[in-house]
């Protein structure tokens, strides 16, 4: 257990920490540069690039999404309108493979995504062009490795998320067959987007309820929980006392009864 803790705390002192930070910094510089150069480019050019992306997005939408969401994303009996949900929602839903929805079950499940990053961006641009909404989140802006505070993130998580996603982010059941999925292995960007868009039964956590810095803390804590080795032996799913009780009866008392039977039969 000493080992585990040392491992957790040693991230900062990891020998790759400095190169990693350098990389993040370079990426930051690079993206600033590209934004700057984009700004200097002619306005008309940007707009035409935008509109080709939007029209591309509209095409994909008509083929893949309109059957449920309507030709102009106005919604239908079976699916909600997407006007005003913003690029973030599309990026999250398509990027995590939830959309296009495969079957009309209780809730859209996470699957391997159907569209690549470019197509997904086009879809997002199209939906964003219908009405303003939360913009998709740039991976590089989610600097949880550098910023954020694990302990604070843990407290925020327990206050805002644990009631649905379980104390260790393992997921849990909601009423009527709905469930909050496990958060282990979810990319930082999608955690962030889930918070700002509130998919399905999940509430929206806007910047007033949880500030951007606090969101980074939550992500940092989730990542720490994910990489935390099981400190006390086999983790039993991190779901609490139910598995423990099962093990106590089956393995604990089970083995002891087995030995008792053996001892009693030996005596004869």
């Amino acid at each position: 257990m000493k080992f585990g803790i040392a491992k957790l705390s040693s991230y900062r002192r990891h020998r790759f920490a400095a190169p990693a930070l350098l990389l993040v910094a370079l990426l930051g510089v690079g993206s600033t540069f590209s934004v700057a150069s984009a700004l200097t480019a002619s306005k008309a050019e940007t707009q035409s690039a935008m509109s080709t992306q939007v029209s591309e997005g509209k095409q994909i939408f008509e083929r893949g999404c309109s059957s449920c969401h309507g030709l102009n994303a106005e919604g239908s009996k079976i699916a909600p309108a997407l006007i005003g949900v913003g690029a973030a929602s599309v990026d999250f839903q398509v990027g995590t493979g939830r959309m296009p929805m495969a079957d009309m079950s209780q809730q859209a499940m996470r699957k391997p995504p159907v569209y690549n990053a470019e197509q997904s961006a086009a879809l997002a641009a199209y939906v964003a062009s219908l009405a303003p909404g939360p913009a998709s989140v740039n991976e590089a802006a989610i600097t949880w490795q550098r910023d954020g505070n694990t302990a604070q993130g843990g407290e925020l998580f327990r206050t805002n998320c644990a009631m649905c996603h379980n104390f260790a982010g393992q997921g849990g059941a909601l009423s009527q067959g709905k469930y909050a999925p496990t958060l282990m292995g979810v990319e930082a960007k999608y955690i962030y987007e889930a918070m700002i868009t509130g998919p399905q039964s999940m509430p929206i956590f806007n910047d007033k309820t949880i500030s951007p810095a606090e969101k980074l803390s939550i992500i940092k804590w989730l990542k720490a929980a994910q990489s935390e080795p099981s400190l006390g032996g086999a983790s039993l799913g991190r779901t609490g006392p139910v598995t423990e009780g099962l093990l106590a009866w089956v393995l604990g008392l089970g083995i002891l009864i087995g030995i008792a039977v053996w001892l009693a039969s030996k005596a004869r």
């Binding site: 327990r158 104390f167 469930y179 909050a180 609490g240 009780g245 008392l253 001892l263």
Partner: protein, 530 residues
């Protein structure tokens, strides 16, 4: 004789002359104990209690039972600088900064689970074999007391670390306390020394957990074992075993050596679990703060059925005289458990009233030979399992792709339907097994060997049972239903009233039996074609 031997002999003589120890030892060390695996369940409970005493004492060296707020600064990074109670901080300290501390915490908790599981299994053995009958009713009552106190002790134990999960449990306990009509809110106020969670609760339950209840446990266990000693152990029926003797091994050396060895096996299994399987990872739960809660907050299994009952009860409240009575908590939290445990405690007396059997019993029943009792037991277990399932409904929902609502309704209906079905099936099963016993006593065991007779007929060879086996299968008595007179001597009809009728009805159900083959039936067969 060597000099040292002589000295030892003198010392022994000295002690013996003054205490009569030799006679006492001779009598008691040669005491005979019967041998059967199911007689070792109680031992498992006893040994896990000893393990609990040892590991618990270790934990007290560092545990700080205080709700004083501190800022954590220990070995577990993801919680550094978090405000928490000293109790939680010291539990983290035990887990991460005390050598072997986490292992001890885990062994303590695994031992608690095995302690409860072993006690329950032991209780079932006693129930199904009828070992609670006269003269052992007192020991049955002590056993029921131990199980009840064990539930309380375990609950208080896992409330001590003051983590998020245990706080959630305490909150529910407080709600149950408050649901008691009229006195409830005062009781809760008294227990928590003010509003929940307050500052006095952890220190209080600490005293109860490490001093008061362990003391009561020690006293009850001592009396329990003394009673086993003086009333002698029961035994399963068999040739040479009667109501008047005990067949088995002498305490010294055989039984002692076995028991001692078995203690280390229990310790070994518990320590193994403590070493390889995580239990109650409080650092993941985080400190308790009112207002936080985790999905899938469950209690330990021995409380799980209670949680399941509370979860399944529909919202029911009445308002009267300015008081709100929350039936939805009162019924599952207090009334049903009260009925269950009172019924369990009184069962020996109920059965003896029902059957009119006031004799002493030292030979155990084979469960099938008492179908009614066995069915009652199976029914109670079915009831417990159904509500236990509802206690874990959220986990079952996510792991088996069901919905909480489905499980809720299944258990709401099942809790009324499943136990009676189990009762009927078990009873039929017992009778079928009796019929099978009768069959093989009379006709022998089927060997699967076919033989062709000279005239072409095929028969299967039946192997006759040994005399011992036959005895074991037929020794049980065939009880008769109580006769309740229709009129008494002076012509009053139905002199015992409803009670008498009920008693007659119950006794009739209780004695339903397949008759064991009698001497004459066996004779008739022997002289016949076999």
């Amino acid at each position: 004789m060597k000099k040292s031997e002589k000295i030892a002999g003198n010392v022994a003589n000295y002690v013996d002359e003054r205490t009569g120890a030799a006679k006492w030892l001779k009598k008691n060390l040669t005491k005979v104990f019967p041998d059967h695996w199911s007689f070792m369940l109680g031992e498992v409970a006893l040994y896990s209690f000893i393990i609990l005493l040892l590991t618990g004492t270790f934990l007290t060296f560092w545990f700080d039972p205080s709700m004083r707020e501190v800022v954590y600064n220990g070995g577990y990074q993801p919680l550094s600088n978090v405000k928490m109670s000293a109790a939680y901080a010291s539990s983290l300290h035990i887990s991460f900064d005390v050598r072997g501390g986490l292992l001890m915490r885990q062994i303590h908790h695994w031992a608690a689970l095995i302690f409860m599981a072993a006690m329950i299994a032991h209780l079932m053995r006693v129930f199904f074999t009828g070992a609670f009958r006269k003269p052992r009713e007192a020991n049955w009552l002590i056993g029921v007391g131990l199980v009840t106190l064990g539930i309380v002790e375990g609950f208080l134990g896992y409330s001590l670390p003051d983590d998020l999960l245990s706080g959630t449990g305490l909150r529910i306990a407080e709600a149950i306390l408050q649901a008691i009509p009229v006195a409830g809110s005062y009781l809760a106020f008294f227990a928590f020394g003010g509003a929940f969670p307050g500052h006095v609760f952890i220190p209080r339950i600490y005293t109860v957990h490490i001093l008061l209840l362990p003391g009561i446990f020690l006293a009850l266990i001592t009396v329990h074992l003394m009673l086993v000693w003086y009333q002698k152990h029961t035994q399963y029926p068999g040739p040479g075993r009667t109501e008047k003797n005990v067949v088995g091994y002498p305490l010294m050396p055989v039984y002692m050596a076995k028991a001692g060895g078995f203690f280390f096996i229990v310790f070994g299994v518990t320590a193994f679990l403590g070493a390889v399987a995580s239990i109650n990872p409080i650092w993941l739960y985080g400190p308790y703060t009112p207002g936080q809660i985790s999905a899938g907050s469950q209690p330990d299994f021995y409380m799980g059925w209670l949680d399941g009952l509370v979860r399944m009860s529909p919202p029911l409240e009445t308002h009267a005289f300015g008081h709100t009575i929350s039936w939805n908590i009162l019924i599952p939290g207090l009334i049903v458990p009260g009925i269950l445990f009172t019924g369990m405690a009184l069962y020996p007396f109920i059965e003896s009233w029902m059957t009119g059997d006031k004799r002493e019993h030292h030979l155990l029943d084979r469960p099938r030979n008492n179908p009614n009792r066995t069915a009652l037991g199976a029914m109670s277990i079915a009831f417990m399992l159904v509500i236990l399932i509802n206690g874990g409904n959220d986990l079952i929902a996510t792991h088996f792709y069901l919905t909480i609502n489905q499980i809720m309704w299944f258990t709401r209906i099942g809790v009324f339907v499943v136990p009676p079905i189990v009762f009927i099936i078990t009873k039929r099963l017992c009778l079928a097994l009796q019929r099978k016993d009768r069959e093989i006593v009379l006709h022998g065991r089927e060997t699967g060997r076919l033989v062709m007779l000279p005239h072409g007929e095929f028969i299967e060879v039946h192997e006759e049972l040994s005399a011992e086996k036959k005895y074991t299968l037929t020794q049980h008595e065939q009880p008769r239903a109580l006769e309740v007179p229709d009129t008494d001597g002076r012509g009053v009809r139905n002199p015992q009233g409803i009670k008498g009728k009920l008693r007659a009805r119950m006794s009739q159900a209780h004695v339903e039996q397949v008759s064991a083959p009698s001497e004459s039936e066996a004779k008739a067969l022997e002289s016949g074609h076999h």
